[in-house]
């Protein structure tokens, strides 16, 4: 969406201020549309009443993202790819984090195949209150044998509901894969200059999104995109080529930047499709698995930052999946919303009269880290989340948002009954150790003030030695 004035969207709204969308006015709703925090469907009259059909259509075309959004997969695992509006994240936010598709091949031993598919589809890490995962499997045809490929795709689908990328330049192989997986709306990889006619036919027959692969030739890539669009195929993903090293790597990044710029800054609709990156190519540059995995991560970072909408990857080691997932998360975090939790007293597990009260701040990263460290170790406890304007413990102790008086006042506000506690212990973060004396005075014996470890990851060990208080 290039439109920046809510007024122009307001013109296409019912203008009745009926508030069914949850906003007080249509104008406010229009601002929400600009910020993409509201969706058209949230205005019931506009969608339901026939008299607004024309406005609805106009509005839809105004707010369509500059970079086309393509859906891959079906059901609750369906992925949105592309759909971006900006070049830099601070200009609004990036919306759809690029799915990571980990490869399997049709010549893998069955047990290995199943193990790898399971590893990818169950991989998870807790971060800021949620489980983060990766999301796709890319099935590569190494054998070039349609029957083997079909069997492999079938096995993969028996073991995961993650969306797939079917990878081969051989239309017969792709067709065999589509016969098995077609209804699950996989992405096919890829049409190239040799096979595009057959692959276009497949994309049409099975109604699946298709990758156009024209490495290092943006004129050729655009020609193919235009041709496919003219045939009515617009669920396209572009592969401009990913060189893993040398001068061609520089060219790769420049191509990504130029394609993004053409799409979101110059509104060149005929090339405004999501782009696929292939960090997996790092594995063709070395036999050393650590070197390959590290280089793959580095490529992943480059393309996550500069516009890849989907990626094919190989390393499923923790030293790849963890940093890559976090980097993607950080780049796609919405910079417009502060990452805070509501201040107050929270319960973890089933706390009772023997349970500690842990003090922390309302910075979401801090709060959820502490909460997960407590919960995952089966500890029953209270957490007092203090309003430090969303600043973490270490920084808020340094900056003065966390003080003994504030801790005392926040505790009082919760109406917590210390008299009912058999073990009345208030545990400070190790980084706030210096508050303990003053807090002793403030609480005047109502609760014992204890100093926990510096890192909440060590609370479990700390409990063994120090809880209950003597």
């Amino acid at each position: 969406m290039k439109e920046t004035s809510p007024l122009n969207l307001y013109k296409q709204l019912p203008q009745t201020n009926c508030q069914k969308c949850g906003e007080t006015t249509c104008m406010a709703f229009a601002s929400g549309l600009i910020a993409r925090s509201k969706k058209i469907e949230e205005c019931p009259p506009l969608v339901e009443e026939k008299k607004y059909a024309k406005k609805l259509a106009a509005l839809k075309s105004i707010i369509a993202p500059e970079l086309k959004m393509v859906y891959i997969g079906v059901g609750d695992k369906q992925l949105k790819v592309g759909g971006e509006d900006v070049m830099y994240r601070h200009q609004m936010t990036f919306f759809n984090k690029p799915p990571f598709a980990y490869d399997v091949t049709d010549n893998m031993e069955e047990a290995k195949l199943v193990e790898r598919v399971k590893k990818v589809s169950t991989w998870k890490k807790f971060y800021i209150g949620k489980w983060e995962r990766v999301e796709m499997i890319a099935v590569r045809s190494v054998t070039d044998d349609p029957a083997k490929f079909a069997a492999c795709v079938k096995k993969v689908m028996e073991n995961t509901d993650y969306p797939l990328i079917l990878c081969s330049f051989n239309p017969a192989v792709l067709k065999a894969g589509l016969e098995v997986a077609g209804k699950a709306r996989p992405l096919i990889y890829a049409a190239n200059k040799d096979n595009w006619k057959e692959v276009a036919q497949l994309a049409n027959d099975y109604k699946v999104p298709v990758t156009l692969s024209v490495p290092f030739d943006l004129d050729g890539l655009k020609s193919m995109a235009v041709t496919f669009a003219e045939m009515g195929l617009t669920d396209l993903i572009l592969d401009p080529g990913t060189a893993p090293n040398g001068k061609m790597l520089q060219q790769t990044l420049l191509n990504f930047i130029n394609l993004r710029r053409a799409a979101v800054e110059e509104a060149q609709r005929d090339i405004a499709y999501p782009v696929i990156a292939l960090p997996i190519n790092a594995w063709m540059t070395t036999d050393d698995p650590v070197r390959a995995a590290y280089w793959e991560s580095v490529l992943t970072a480059a393309f996550t930052i500069r516009g890849a909408a989907i990626m094919v990857k190989h390393s499923v080691e923790a030293h790849s999946m963890m940093p890559d997932m976090h980097l993607r998360f950080n780049i796609y975090t919405d910079p417009r919303t502060p990452v805070q939790v509501k201040p107050g007293l929270y319960k973890v597990g089933n706390p009772g009269a023997e349970s500690p009260v842990f003090v922390t701040t309302n910075f979401a990263l801090t709060y959820y880290t502490v909460e997960s460290d407590i919960a995952s170790n089966g500890i029953d406890a209270y957490i007092l989340s203090i309003n430090t304007d969303g600043i973490g413990v270490q920084a808020s102790v340094a900056g003065g948002q966390l003080t003994p008086v504030k801790i005392k006042d926040s505790m009082d506000e919760t109406g917590f009954d210390w008299a009912g506690q058999k073990s009345a212990g208030l545990v400070l973060p190790g980084m706030a150790a210096k508050f303990s004396g003053e807090l002793e005075d403030l609480f005047a014996g109502k609760a014992k003030i204890m100093v926990g470890p510096e890192d909440s990851g060590r609370i479990s060990d700390w409990m063994k030695s120090f809880w209950p208080p003597k």
């Binding site: 890490k125 990878c167 020609s223 520089q250």
Partner: protein, 451 residues
């Protein structure tokens, strides 16, 4: 339906009935009904999607058309109407698809040219800053390092980057606690800053070294400044690359310490780290100016404080532009990298777009990455996390990703520790500048690759 029906009457009636909502159905002058196969989901299937509403309209359309004497049945594709009126039978999707107008593969590829412009809003270049001075310039360094000079965002097509990002490796004036994966590389030199510096340069390829005078911290050894700065001379003797000199972070003592260090290294054009708004920045800035050094202006993830400090160093202290580098603060991967990245990207874009209080090279304290628990903890405190794997491999990549991400935002000099992290950040940044020759494999080869 008595009387004559004109085309405009028809259109009017149709528009009252919202025929526009039937995307892909066009009504032309001679009442020709066109089914646009190009629009997604149209074709006979539209009936399925639009249901009874569409059916009613279609029936009205037929009636109107018949009323004005058009051979409707011959013109209309029967599936569209028939199926719209009837409730969708089982297997209808397949049937409708079969009746869809044939998809036609193009005979040949269209010929199109791709072109895109450059960003015309970028007006100012980043100041080029030289760290280190050779004999000819009054110092004793064998090489100097140039930072900055960009005319575009890092690695963008608009203008080539004149100087590759540089790495200065940390050396401490006393043994300190560090993650196991880092410590193993320095155990043998931990007692001697000079040997440590040599190892960093000769073995690990550091472009510069930073001597951190942390023993001056009142909570550590409280070394007096006069004594602490002797180490600076040792390091200058040991290596011939330019150096950075850091304090302990104590806001009361650092200005005195750094002023002394600036004197001790007079003429060497060291990078003095750092002046901060919460300390006597004026004293530090002045020491840089008087002794010919570069001042590192450090603020905490806040663009306006950065402008304020830069302005003060220029206007109050009178530091020349070519003697300022900024450290807008590095928060590590998964622990605030989003703030650090965006803060730096905005600073760099602001500078390029004409804010001359921000047109300075940027520095990153990338070593912060080692503070992150994922970089050093043996296993996850959260029992349900997937296995965290080998921490000896997790740590270095944490430092690499933190540094490289900020290189993309525009950082020109990195303070780093792990040798492997140093070599990867060098390699990727130089690759993206096209400085590294390598035989590139066939980029479609991965499809059949056997790993």
């Amino acid at each position: 339906m008595a009387g004559k029906m004109t085309l405009s009457d028809l259109n009017k009636t149709l528009s009252e009935m919202n025929v526009q909502s039937l995307e892909g159905v066009k009504i032309e002058g001679d009442i020709e009904i066109e089914l646009d196969a190009g629009a997604g989901g149209v074709g006979p299937l539209f009936a399925y999607y639009f249901g009874q509403e569409a059916a009613k309209i279609a029936m009205q359309l037929i009636n109107f058309a018949k009323a004005v004497g058009y051979p409707v049945d011959a013109l209309m594709q029967p599936v569209a109407v028939a199926q719209a009126v009837a409730p969708a039978p089982a297997g209808m999707v397949a049937a409708a698809a079969a009746a869809e107008p044939a998809f036609k593969v193009a005979a040949q590829l269209a010929s199109a040219k791709f072109s895109v412009g450059t960003d015309k809003t970028w007006k100012l270049p980043i100041q080029e800053v030289t760290v280190g001075a050779t004999k000819a310039d009054g110092g004793s360094r064998g090489v100097v390092r140039k930072l900055g000079g960009e005319k575009a965002m890092a690695f963008f097509p608009d203008a080539p980057m004149p100087n590759a990002p540089k790495i200065t490796m940390d050396v401490f004036d006393m043994p300190i606690g560090m993650a196991k994966a880092v410590k193993m590389h320095y155990e043998d030199v931990m007692g001697s800053p000079a040997e440590w510096a040599k190892k960093a340069v000769n073995k690990f390829g550091a472009d510069l070294v930073t001597i951190h005078l942390i023993s001056t911290d009142p909570l550590l050894k409280d070394t007096p400044p006069q004594e602490a700065v002797k180490v600076v001379e040792d390091v200058l003797q040991a290596v011939d690359v330019p150096i950075c000199i850091g304090g302990s972070g104590n806001p009361d003592k650092d200005p005195i310490l750094l002023a002394k260090a600036a004197e001790a290294a007079q003429g060497e054009r060291a990078l003095i780290a750092s002046a901060n708004l919460n300390m006597d920045w004026e004293m530090i800035g002045k020491a840089c100016k008087d002794n010919g050094h570069v001042c590192l202006a450090w603020t905490q993830l806040e663009i306006n404080s950065q402008k304020e400090l830069n302005r003060k160093l220029m206007k109050v202290v009178g530091l020349p532009r070519e003697s300022i580098v900024m450290d807008p603060t590095t928060a590590a991967l998964a622990y605030g990298l989003d703030f650090a990245y965006t803060n730096m990207e905005r600073i760099r874009l602001g500078a390029l777009k004409g804010d001359d209080e921000l047109t300075f090279p940027m520095s990153s304290g990338t070593t912060n990455a080692w503070g992150v628990r994922e970089a050093w903890m043996v296993r996850s405190p959260n029992k349900e996390d997937s296995d965290w794997g080998d921490r000896m491999l997790r740590g270095p990549i944490w430092e690499i990703m933190t540094g490289f991400t900020l290189a993309m935002a525009g950082v020109d000099i990195f303070m780093m520790m792990h040798p492997m992290a140093v070599s990867y950040v060098h390699e990727i940044t130089q690759s993206l500048m096209g400085l590294i020759e390598a035989k590139t494999p066939d980029t479609t080869g991965w499809l059949k690759m056997g790993v």
